[in-house]
Every structure is written in structure tokens, then in C-alpha cells.
């Protein structure tokens, strides 16, 4: 019990440049205090998503053909030098990339949050039911889950989009459909171990209904898992949304979704690399920091869960 968690003892009497000290420092920043990742998340995703209307320097949809294919501001060498007006450059229609990324973050956030909410609710409910009731209910639900996990995701998404036509809501729907099964699997496993604990038996002895046991006794104990899972999935969802958009099956043009932007930059990758790379970097930073946050949360929340 006393050895739980990582113990961060500051190494004594070591010069600041020693490996141990540096490792200690990096551990402190990246493992104990995920400030770095939170900051990145805030800067790239949350802040622009909330305030893009006021803070974005340009209208993301406004085309200025005279300014087309302007490189980022630090690239002054070409025949068209970068300008401070378009810090990250412009695309082939002369739209400001920074503004498009900022507005795109709102789409990414909205899509991922809605998909997580829908997929998470469906998945968690089914996972709770499946794990708690067991027997044929469990068999049925788990076979459906297996089927969904076996389906080629992207192909499925393309088929659905082909049927319903690309739109913001189709994107959310498709991603939710693809997500729920993972929740079900994880939550079911969790419920199976919780169900065997004595407090569930005690609740049954006290005469609680199944619904009450699930809601009051089982569910509060899977919330931690749920939070970690959701955090880790935000990255997946954003990536999925970008992939779908890239393939033309996600957010319809001309909305500034990050995936669409990468796709648009594909044709100019040799001459105007920034069109694809800038939104690509945004995706990378968000996914990376989300995953790191998820890992951190798992480390923080899990020991308490094990004490149950």
C-alpha cells in the first residue's frame, strides 16, 4: 500500500546537467503535471474553437485569389514572400490557413464531443447491460460488438456516407457507430469484475432492483474508466474525422475541416507544402496531447479503482 504510485524523489547532490536530474525534470513535466499537453490542447483546440469568430484574422471562407499560395511568414525566399497578414500562408484559393485551422478546430471539437457523447452513451449502456446480466444478453451484445469490430472501419464509413450523403451530422453519426463497440467491450470487462464484488451482492440482499444496482452501485465505479477511455478516444475521433474528410466522406467542402484542408493540400505538396502540413501539425498536436492526457489520467485514476 505504501509503495503505490510513482515516487518522485528529487535526487540529492547531483549537478543540474546530470542524466538523473534531467530525467527527473522531464518526468515532472510530462508525467506528473501534464501542463504542457493541456496548454497545447488549449492553444490549438479549445481556445480557437470557442473564439474563432473574434480572434481569427480572416474569414475562413473568403477567397482572395491575388494572395493565393502565399507561404508562411518566415519563408521570405521565394518569388512570393510570406506576409504577417497570413502568418501560416494561404491555400490555392487565397484563403488564410491560420483562420481555417482555427475554425476547423471548432468542427473537430464539435464532431469529437458529439460522437463521443452518442457513441459513449450507447456503448456504456450496452456494456453495463451486457456485463451485468450475462447469459444470452451478453452473448447477443458481444457478438454484435465482435461484428462491428471486425468490419473495415473506413470502408463502412464510405458506404454509409455514400448512402446518406456527406454532411456534418452524417460524420457524427458514422463516427458514433464506429465508436460504441469499444466502449461496450471495455465497460463490460470492468462490470464483470465489479459484479463479483461483495457490495453488489449486498445490494441484491438489500432488495435493490437491477436498475438501481446498475445505476447506483456499478456505474459510479466505471466512471473512471469511462473518462480515461473518452480522453484516449478524442484523439482517435479527430483522426477519424480527418481521415473521412480527407477521403471526401466527412465534412463537406468548403467548411474548414482539418482533414479537408490536408486533402486540398495534397495536390500542391511539392510546391506549397504548408497547405497540407499546417493542418496536419494541428491534428498531430491535438491527438498527441490527448493521448498523453489519457495516459496521465489513467495513471492517476487507476490506483483508486484498484482499491475498490
Amino acid at each position: 500500500m505504501a509503495t503505490e504510485g510513482t515516487v518522485l524523489q528529487l535526487p540529492q547532490r547531483l549537478p543540474w546537467y546530470s542524466v538523473a536530474r534531467l530525467r527527473h525534470l522531464t518526468n515532472l513535466i510530462f508525467k506528473e503535471y501534464p501542463v504542457v499537453w493541456l496548454t497545447i490542447l488549449f492553444l490549438v483546440l479549445i481556445f480557437p474553437a470557442l473564439t474563432a469568430d473574434f480572434t481569427a484574422p480572416h474569414d475562413p471562407l473568403k477567397q482572395q485569389l491575388s494572395k493565393r499560395l502565399t507561404p508562411p511568414v518566415w519563408d521570405q525566399t521565394g518569388d512570393k514572400p510570406g506576409t504577417w497578414s497570413n502568418i501560416l500562408g494561404t491555400d490555392k484559393q487565397g484563403r488564410d490557413i491560420l483562420s481555417r485551422i482555427m475554425h476547423g478546430s471548432r468542427i473537430s471539437l464539435m464532431v469529437s464531443l458529439s460522437a463521443l457523447a452518442i457513441g459513449g452513451t450507447i456503448g456504456t449502456t450496452l456494456g453495463l447491460v451486457s456485463g451485468y446480466f450475462g447469459r444470452w444478453v451478453d452473448h447477443l451484445i458481444m457478438r454484435v460488438v465482435d461484428t462491428f469490430l471486425a468490419l473495415p472501419l473506413i470502408l463502412m464509413a464510405l458506404v454509409i456516407v455514400a448512402v446518406f450523403g456527406p454532411s456534418f451530422y452524417t460524420a457524427i453519426g458514422v463516427i458514433s457507430v464506429l465508436l460504441w463497440s469499444r466502449y461496450t467491450r471495455q465497460i463490460r470487462a470492468e462490470v464483470l469484475s465489479i459484479k463479483a464484488l461483495d457490495f453488489v451482492a449486498r445490494a441484491r440482499v438489500a432488495g435493490c432492483s437491477n436498475l438501481r444496482i446498475i445505476v447506483k452501485h456499478v456505474f459510479p465505479n466505471v466512471v473512471n474508466t469511462l473518462i480515461v477511455l473518452a480522453t484516449l478516444q478524442v484523439g482517435t475521433v479527430i483522426l477519424l474525422e480527418a481521415t473521412l474528410s480527407f477521403l471526401g466522406a466527412g465534412i463537406p467542402r468548403p467548411n474548414p475541416a482539418w482533414g479537408v484542408m490536408v486533402a486540398d493540400g495534397r495536390d500542391h505538396i511539392a510546391s506549397a507544402w504548408w497547405i497540407a502540413v499546417m493542418p496536419g501539425l494541428a491534428i498531430m498536436f491535438v491527438v498527441l496531447s490527448m493521448n498523453m492526457m489519457g495516459d496521465w489520467l489513467r495513471d492517476k485514476l487507476d490506483p483508486k479503482l484498484r482499491q475498490v
Binding site: M1, A2, T3, E4, G5, V7, Q9
Partner: protein, 356 residues
């Protein structure tokens, strides 16, 4: 399935004569602290004891009193980096093993000092056969030319640990064996290196009563044959009474009383030992009175009082107990206890300083 004839072995069993020799293990002022985020946990705080060859020493105490950490410290297996041996000496066969470099400890573990853990289910690797695991362990101790030689030795040791048909059992996987049988295999691996000291950390708590009786008898037989010293860690007073020659009573990281078993049970000197003995119900007598119970709980090891650690639960507490940790008092019979109540009594003589 055993045949019906050999199901009963009570008649021809006799209690082996104990042959107690020189001091094998001598522990002096051992302190193991855990550096955790809540502060310094003094899991083992000033331990002094000796174990003689062929003797069984019990370490008794409640959960969190430091008895398991003592065992790990003796093997130098206390969890790093949290645990540090702050002070003390452990003389095993005359050599202070705390001075050995870490990478040489593997020559000490298994061959000089060895351990049986509580849970046989987790002590064995589920994906290897018993034989493979034993041969691997034996390879550490014997320079046999061939695998076959090691395997024969494994079979031999299993037979000594009372495993029926060991030639066939070596091909079994752990999950094919019952809990009692697995614990015998674990025991066989522990004695394979012919250690001088065998530490048993609650080896029978996971076993049923009748299986426990078999196992304890087996340990006694092994001890009589090989002369190994056993350190028996348990919270079960019945097991202590049955197995041990002497015992240490630990409370909150310290040994509060030590002595031979009869004196400890019949005539304990420390109020904690007294209370502990009184709170164990007996199955031999009819109960009329209420059971004696110690109210309250032991102090947290990271927030220990300056004085006697039992003071907050002690019936005989005085101001002195709260202010200063009592010294050890010893008598002629080698019995000792840390308690102010013994001060000034003619047969008890102070052997350590107060307040350390």
C-alpha cells in the same frame, strides 16, 4: 488419487527432537524506511534478533506492523526505490550481507536464505511445467552436466516435500495442481538450494485447515532432516504456538517483546502481547465471559508518536510512556520486552537506551 491404504498416517508419526545449534542469523538495529509521497514510513524501525541453526523463530503481528517488510529486507528485496535500509547489520553465517554488492545477492538468496510466500498461486509461473521451473531454480545451485541430473534432483526434492508420484508431477503445469500441492512445490523450490535460513511468510493462510496441518508437519520434518532455521511470519497465534520455539511480537515497526513460546503465551510481559493473547478465543474452553478486546487501532507508520507506540491503546499508560519510547528490559531466560512497566523490577535489567 491416492489409494485407500496410505490415507492415514497418524500412528507412526513422532515429534522430531529439536537440535538447536549456533547462531546463523544475527540482525542488529535494522531499519527499513519507505520514502513515500505521504512521508517516511518506518516499516521496520530498530530490529534486533538472532536465529540459531535448527530453530524456528516466529514473527507475530498485525497487518502493517512491518513483519513482511522485515522478511523482504532480510532477502534485500524491499521494493525500490521507495524502500531504503537506513541502518543496521544482517549477519548471515558471520557475513554482513548488507555489505555485499547487489549483483552478488543472488548467490545468497536461495542458497543461504530463502523464502516461501503466502500465495502459491502467484509464486509459480503458469506457462511452465513444475519440472522446468524447478530445473531452472536448481541450475543456479548445482553444476550438473546434464538436464537429466537436475531433473532427478528436482524429483528427489519434491518427494522430500511430500509430493506423491513426483516423477509424474514434474510434467504438470501449476493449474493442474491443488493449492496445497502448489505450496509444496513452492516449498520444494525454496529448500532446493539447501539454505541455512528459510523465511515462511504466512505460507498456510491460503490453505484449508486439514491441508495446513499436513503442510506444517512437513515443514517440521524438513527442518529435522536438514537443520534449516525457519523464520515463520504469521498473524495466527495457533500456528505460532504449534510451530515456533521462540517468537518476536511486532507492533508498529518495532519488536515489543521476544522470548520463548511458552513464556510468551503463558506469561507475557508487554501489555500488547497480553492483550493479544487475551483477545484470541479458545476452542478448547466454553465461553462465559466476553472476549477481551483491544480498542482503537495501531498508529500510522508515517505518523508515529514519540513515545511508546502502543500508548494510545494501553490500559497501563503513564505520562512517561507518552513522552519517551521505553528501553528494552531483559531477564535471565533471554526474554525481553520494551515497556516502562518493567523498570525497577528485580528480575528485569535494562539493556538498551530509552527513547531510541
Amino acid at each position: 488419487m491416492t489409494s485407500q491404504a496410505d490415507n492415514y498416517q497418524a500412528e507412526n508419526y513422532y515429534e522430531p527432537e529439536k537440535n538447536i545449534g549456533e547462531v546463523v542469523l544475527d540482525v542488529r538495529d535494522l531499519r527499513t524506511y519507505l520514502y513515500t509521497r505521504w512521508g517516511i514510513t518506518k516499516a521496520v524501525d530498530g530490529l534486533n534478533f538472532q536465529v540459531r541453526a535448527g530453530e524456528t523463530l516466529g514473527i507475530v503481528g498485525e497487518s502493517g506492523c512491518g513483519k513482511s517488510m522485515t522478511a523482504l529486507t532480510l532477502l534485500r528485496l524491499a521494493p525500490k526505490p521507495a524502500a531504503r535500509i537506513v541502518s543496521g547489520e544482517i549477519f548471515l553465517d558471520g557475513e554482513n550481507i548488507l555489505e555485499r554488492p547487489e549483483n552478488e545477492m543472488r548467490f545468497v538468496r536461495g542458497q543461504k536464505i530463502s523464502m516461501i510466500l503466502q500465495d502459491p498461486m502467484t509464486s509459480l509461473n503458469p506457462v511452465f511445467t513444475i519440472g522446468n521451473q524447478m530445473v531452472e531454480a536448481l541450475g543456479m545451485y548445482y553444476q550438473e552436466e546434464q538436464q537429466r541430473g537436475l531433473r532427478d534432483r528436482a524429483v528427489d526434492i519434491l518427494r522430500r516435500m511430500g509430493v506423491a508420484a513426483p516423477e509424474r508431477r514434474v510434467m504438470d503445469f501449476p493449474h493442474q495442481m491443488s493449492g496445497g500441492m502448489k505450496q509444496r512445490v513452492v516449498g520444494a523450490m525454496a529448500i532446493a538450494g539447501t539454505p541455512r535460513v528459510l523465511i515462511c511468510d504466512e505460507p498456510t493462510t491460503a490453505l484449508d485447515v486439514t491441508i495446513q496441518a499436513q503442510y506444517l508437519r512437513l515443514l517440521k520434518q524438513v527442518q529435522a532432516e536438514s537443520g534449516v532455521s525457519i523464520i515463520f511470519i504469521t498473524h495466527d497465534m495457533g500456528v505460532v504456538a504449534k510451530m515456533c520455539d521462540r517468537a518476536l511480537v511486532m507492533y508498529a515497526g518495532r519488536v515489543v517483546e521476544q522470548g520463548d513460546i511458552r513464556t510468551l503465551f503463558k506469561n507475557p510481559s508487554h501489555p500488547y502481547t497480553k492483550a493479544l493473547m487475551a483477545s484470541v478465543p479458545s476452542m478448547e474452553e466454553k465461553h462465559v465471559d466476553k472476549l477481551y478486546s483491544i480498542e482503537g487501532q495501531p498508529p500510522a507508520l508515517f505518523d508515529l508518536p514519540v513515545g511508546c507506540r502502543f500508548a494510545n491503546r494501553c490500559e497501563f499508560v503513564t505520562d512517561k510512556c507518552i513522552e519517551t519510547y521505553p528501553p528494552s528490559f531483559a531477564n535471565e531466560q533471554g526474554h525481553s520486552a520494551d515497556c516502562w512497566l518493567l523498570e525497577g523490577q528485580s528480575e528485569w535489567r535494562q539493556v538498551t537506551e530509552a527513547g531510541v
